[in-house]
Each structure stands twice: as structure tokens, then as C-alpha cells.
């Protein structure tokens, strides 16, 4: 008996913990930091992560515009991804994502984007790299400046920011136009390498025909800063240490990722491969909100109906099962936040199916219990037999569901059927949790109740409904 009460207590603690995570309130910093991958970052878990079909936004599937039978240049898609990411981050959206899919495709998700058409154009556009003379002014990486080659860069940015189509950037010298020395066309090859002390650096070769001018400029400006600009944004501000004839290096306090990213951007100011839009899907924020409101309303009505039905049919055990079901739903929501699971409409379908299976597990057990009671077993024995006899069916049903989930997830992941993937994730999380709540939690509650109120229950057929 004591054991049962300890279990009941532990279950209630777990319930309180998951309820705390699931509620849309502020969570302690240690929890949010523990969930984030990097150092000094946090993951906000106030709200569930919703897919674009629920919160509104645009999803674009881009494909390399090179004929099927021709292999892509090595690493071209990875380089394109880095450049697309940069452009997407410039749009000023909350949590945009860029993911590679298979060998030739990339999925870009733009939540809450106001002008999807223009955003897509920005992503696919060709950028231009410039080497710019800063004239001694203190310009830092990520600043925006005008250059003689692109005198309206700042004005265009300000306009886009005002229209809500770009993120605000630092603009230290809005009225200044800096002189462009060379454009990125003079670069022949750019790679990130390590020097003899294992420091990361960027090595570049120049094309023969134009290196004369570059040599003259660098020879006359040793000790000055030569800024590298992409589409008006400062990428790097190295100091010229020596005259550069046909190749040079940029040194600095680079990590490997920084060096590689800078090398890629210098190499392909433009995208390394043309990208074609093969699928674009925009869900208006109002439609997404509609779906959420209505799903919620339907969920509440459906849940209430199940509660009434379970209590009418199974009385006390039914009530205990509904409590277990409430714990189940809370655990699921908490898991979605912790993992995290991005909730989509098919994901909700998977969740509904898992609730169905959780309820079914309880129905199986209770029907078995009633059968045993009708055969004249004692209450205590009937409860235990009900659980043990129903278990193989619950196990086999759930395991075969998990098997199909694994297959669906694998296919969804490899073939870009994100519909199938979202469904498989919520269903498998739900099935795993339901084996815990529908069997263990309900049984513990039943045993706990029996040990404290058992004698009174024995005489009450009404409470058990058989």
C-alpha cells in the first residue's frame, strides 16, 4: 500500500512538472539554456513551435537549375545554402530556416513573411562582391554602406526596413559613398586554409588581367583597411600588410566556420548554382489562426464528450482513466516543447490517433476487468487480471504502430514528404507515452484507490458499472 502511495506521489510530481513546462508562462533561465544547443543561448518555450500551416508564412522548395543527368559541382549546394541563409536572415523574420533536402534541393521556411514574392526574389538574386576603400572611417563587419558601385544600397535597405521586409541594420555613414576599388570578378579562387600555426585564414588567387590595378592600389595603401562588401553589407575589414600581386591571404581571429563561411561568400557573391522555385506554399496568418482556434474548440468539445462517455460507461475506473488521459495530454505537450516537435496539421492528426489508442488501451483493460468481475472474481483479482490480460493486445497494437511510424519517418525524411514525417513524429511520441499513462498510471491509481477505499468499493456495483 505504501508503495502505491509513493507511486501516486511520483506521478503527481511528474504531472506538475510537465504542466509547468506545457503552460504558456515564463520558464526559468536554466531550463531554457539547458534546451539550447550552444553556449549562452536560450530557447523560448512559452509557446509550442507551430508549423507554417498553423502560424502562417511561406515555404519555398528550391531546386538546382541544372539538368537531371548532370552532377552538381561538389559542395555547390552547401555553399548555396550558406548564401541563402545569409539573405534569409536579412529579411528580419523570426526563426526562418534553410534545410537541404536530398542532392539537389533546399527548403526555405519564412514564417510570418509579409511580401513572400519579393522575399523569394531576394533569395534567388545574384549578389555582388566589392573591395572598398574606407578612407580611414571606422566601419565594422555587418555595417551597411554606400559604394560608388552601389550608391543606393543604404536607401534601398531603409525603404525595405520601413516596409517591414528587411531587418534593421547598422548604418554608420548614411550620407557617405565609399570608393569601390575592384568588384568580385577579379577573384579566381578562394579557400579557407590553416597557416603553420594552425590559425584559420582565407587564401585567394586573382585573375591575371586585372591584378595590375589591384597590385598598384595595395602597394600604395599598405597599413590601410580594405573592406570586403557583399550587396552593401561589410563582410570583413582586413588591413593591407603587403602589396598583392596575383594571390593573397586574409588573416584574423577566425574560427574554422567563420573562415569557411567568408571564403564561400567571397567565392560566390552570387549563388554558385542557379536555383529554381519548384514549390511555393503560403498560408495567410488569418487562415493559420482559424485552424488553431477551431482545432482547440474541437479538442475541448471532443475531450469533454470522451470524459462523459468514459465516466458513464466505466464509472470510477473511467474517471481515473480520464485523469490519466489529462496527464497524458500534458506530457505530450511538454514533450513537444522539450524535443522540440514542430506541430503541423498532420502532426495534430497523429496526436489525435495516439489519444485514440490511449483511450482504447484503457477500454481494453476495463472491459477485461468487467468480464472477470462478471465471472465472479474478487475485485482485487479482477483489476490485476484485467491489466495483465489486456497487456499483450496493447503491446502488439502499439509496437506495430511504432514500426509503421519508423518507416514513415524514414521515408518522410528522405523524400521530403514532410506531411508524413510530422504525422509519424507525434504519433510515435504519443504511443510511447500512452503505454506509460494508460497502463502504469491508471493501474497505480486503481491500486491506490483499492488499498485505501477497497472495502467500500467491494459492495458497490454502481461505482464499477458492471
Amino acid at each position: 500500500m505504501r508503495n502505491q502511495l509513493i507511486y501516486v506521489f511520483l506521478i503527481l510530481c511528474l504531472f506538475a512538472g510537465s504542466l509547468f513546462v506545457a503552460l504558456p508562462i515564463d520558464h526559468p533561465v536554466w531550463l531554457e539554456e539547458g534546451l539550447a544547443p550552444g553556449v549562452d543561448t536560450q530557447r523560448d518555450i512559452r509557446e509550442l513551435t507551430l508549423g507554417l500551416d498553423l502560424k502562417g508564412g511561406t515555404q519555398v522548395l528550391l531546386e538546382a537549375e541544372i539538368s537531371e543527368d548532370q552532377p552538381l559541382p561538389e559542395d555547390a549546394l552547401n555553399s548555396a545554402k550558406i548564401i541563402v541563409e545569409q539573405r534569409v536572415n536579412g529579411l528580419g523574420l523570426a526563426e526562418p530556416t534553410v534545410q537541404l533536402q536530398g542532392e539537389r534541393r533546399m527548403i526555405v521556411e519564412l514564417p510570418g513573411v509579409k511580401n513572400p514574392d519579393q522575399a523569394i526574389e531576394t533569395i534567388r538574386s545574384t549578389g555582388q562582391l566589392e573591395f572598398v576603400d574606407l578612407g580611414g572611417l571606422p566601419v565594422r563587419p555587418d555595417d551597411f554602406i554606400n559604394t560608388t558601385n552601389r550608391p543606393d544600397a543604404v536607401a534601398a535597405l531603409q525603404e525595405a526596413v520601413a516596409a517591414g521586409e528587411a531587418a534593421p541594420q547598422s548604418i554608420p555613414f548614411p550620407d557617405e559613398t565609399f570608393e569601390t576599388i575592384m568588384t568580385g570578378d577579379i577573384l579566381q579562387a578562394v579557400v579557407a586554409t590553416q597557416d603553420e600555426f594552425s590559425f584559420w585564414q582565407i587564401q585567394f588567387d586573382l585573375k591575371g588581367e586585372s591584378s595590375g590595378d589591384f597590385f598598384a592600389y595595395t602597394r600604395d595603401n599598405i597599413g590601410e583597411v580594405l573592406a570586403i562588401i557583399l550587396d552593401g553589407r561589410v563582410l570583413s575589414t582586413p588591413v593591407i600588410n603587403a602589396a598583392i600581386n596575383d594571390n593573397g591571404v586574409i588573416t584574423g581571429d577566425f574560427s574554422q566556420d567563420e573562415a569557411e563561411s567568408l571564403a564561400i561568400q567571397m567565392r560566390y557573391g552570387a549563388l554558385p548554382i542557379p536555383l529554381e522555385v519548384v514549390d511555393v506554399r503560403t498560408i495567410g496568418a488569418s487562415l493559420g489562426q482559424d485552424s488553431i482556434d477551431r482545432s482547440l474548440q474541437a479538442g475541448i468539445v471532443g475531450g469533454a464528450l470522451v470524459l462523459i462517455f468514459m465516466v458513464l460507461l466505466y464509472r470510477l475506473p473511467g474517471l481515473l482513466a480520464t485523469v490519466a488521459l489529462a496527464i497524458y495530454v500534458t506530457l505530450n505537450l511538454a514533450m513537444y516543447k522539450l524535443m522540440p516537435v514542430t506541430l503541423t496539421l498532420p502532426g495534430i492528426a497523429g496526436f489525435i490517433l495516439s489519444i485514440g489508442m490511449a483511450v482504447d488501451a484503457n477500454i481494453l483493460i476495463f472491459e477485461r476487468m468487467k468480464e472477470e468481475l462478471r465471472n465472479g472474481r474478487s475485485l482485487r483479482l479482477a483489476v490485476e487480471t484485467g491489466f495483465s490480460r489486456a497487456w499483450p493486445a496493447i503491446r502488439d497494437g502499439n509496437l506495430s504502430t511504432l514500426i509503421s511510424c519508423a518507416v514513415l519517418y524514414w521515408f518522410g525524411n528522405n523524400f521530403g514528404a514532410s506531411v508524413v514525417k510530422g504525422f509519424a513524429i507525434t504519433l510515435s511520441v504519443g504511443v510511447l507515452l500512452s503505454m506509460f499513462t494508460a497502463v502504469f498510471v491508471t493501474r497505480t491509481f486503481m491500486r491506490g484507490f483499492l488499498s485505501s477505499q477497497g472495502e467500500r468499493l467491494l459492495g458497490s456495483r454502481g461505482l464499477l458499472g458492471y
Partner: protein, 315 residues
Amino acid sequence: MYRLVERRKLWFLVSLLGILPGILFIIWNVSSAGTLLPLSIDYTGGTQWEMRFSEPVAPSALGSVFVEEGFTDTKAFNVDDDRTVQVKFKNIDISQKEVIEQAIVEQFGEFDERLYRSIGPAIGAEVSQAALLAVIAASLLILAYIALAFREISHPFRYGVAAIAALVHDVLITVSFLSIMNLILGWELDALFLTATLTVIGFSVNDTIVIFDRIRENLRRHRGEPLAMVANRSIIETAQRSIATQVTALLVLAAILIFGGSTLRIFMATLIVGLVSGTYSSIFTATPLVVAWEEGSFLPKASKAVRAREQTAPA
């Protein structure tokens, strides 16, 4: 004792009547449109565009804008209310979209873009193939698992095959439903229908396993009884559970069908049909099939020997 599996002629006939409309429709569709079922733009490629205006807009008036721009096979219709129009036509790119958008705004005023989807034809075909492969692979693995889980009783493989047959039955029933709804309301096979089918498969296998599990248990408990009797007994014993589960599931699904948005309507209706079919097939398809296999005859033989044995066996 009820004689359920012995009446399988009737049950199979009911199944056949349920499946037949789908089969006929498929034949008709293949000959008229060249595809198995009417496919949505998820699979064929094309554009779907839903706009909500501030004033009511006649779908035909909006559709004529598209026709003027050269998209002659445009379909326009209201969804949810008379201010919201959905348009379907062929796959376009962004510059074409901007031209049409301008024409619409000039004629009908600004609108809220509720949904926009434009997809190239190649993508859809790939995804649907992958999904079909996934369903087949999952079915084979379930077959293997059931054969393994029932290895203690004789012919475990038959139970796996029967469960898969029930699963295929349920998919065919949802196809029939889609066919009929296509003729009435123009429903098409889209990605959500596919998800609904996956869900139905999940329910169906689960339902079948519950009955098979009871057969497995009863075979141990009532040794020497013919399989047909054990099967009948198992169906009856699990009937209460089947009904209770069915009712709870239907309560939830009906709530979503009524209160959920239009995006979920086709999905939920398909689920409800598939769910009812799933329960039917576990009782009236999968179980009779296992018995039929054991008796070596698809339809029941009214042999005297079988009857005689039934009468002497304890009921």
C-alpha cells in the same frame, strides 16, 4: 454461440459492395483522365490561391480575370463564406502572379491572401511515389511483426496476411468514399487524404490485433475447439470493447468535423469512414479470412462434420 464467421459469404458481399464503387470509379478515371484517382495539385502540379475580400465576390467574376490573362482552365469557387474565393489553375511563376494580382486588385480591391500554393508537376509525383512505397514497406514490416508475435499458435503467417488484407480493404473503402465525394463535391486526392489513409491503417491494424490477441488466448484456453468457434467466441468477447472504442473515437472525430475548419473537413470525413471500416474489417474480414484459410475454403462449407463437432463442443 453466435455463428459469425460461418456467415462470411454475407460479410464478404458487404465488403465487395463497399469496394466496388471505388474500383468502377478508378476504371472510369483511368480511361477518361489517365490517373487512378482525381489528383489534387499536390500531385499534378498547379496553383491554388485563396483570397478573402472585404466585400462579397462572385467566383465566376473572379475566375474571368484569370481567363482574360490566358488561364482558360481556371476553376473558382467559394470557401467558408461569400467573401472568400479559391481559385485553381496551372502552375505559374512569381512574375505571372504579380500581373494577375494587379488585375484582381484593380477590379475587386485589396484582399487577404489566405493560401497560395504553386507547385511544379515533377515534385508531386515524387512525393506520392515515396508515400506509396512507405505504406507498402510499413505493411510488410507489420506482417512480419504479427507473424512473430503470434508464433506460438499454428500458422502465424496467416494472421499477418489477414491483417494486411483488412488494411487493404479499409484503404479501398476510403477510396470508394473519395470517389463518391468526387462525383458529388469534387473532392480530390491530396496530401491530407494521404495522411488520413495512414491514420486509418494505424487504427485498422490495432483493431485487428485486439481480436487476434483474443483468439491467441482462447486457443490456449479452449484446446481442441475448431478455429471457427474460437474465432466467434473471440469476436463476441471483444465486441463491447470494439463498440466502446468506436464510440469514443467517433465522438472526438465528429467534434472536429463539426467545429474544425474547412481545411480539416475532408480529412475528418475520410477518417470517420475509414474508422468504421477498420472495425468492420477486423471483425468481418480479417477474422473470417483466417478461418477460411484454416478450413481451406474461401466461402463456408456447410459440411455435416463441422456442424456435428460444433454441437458436441461446450458452448
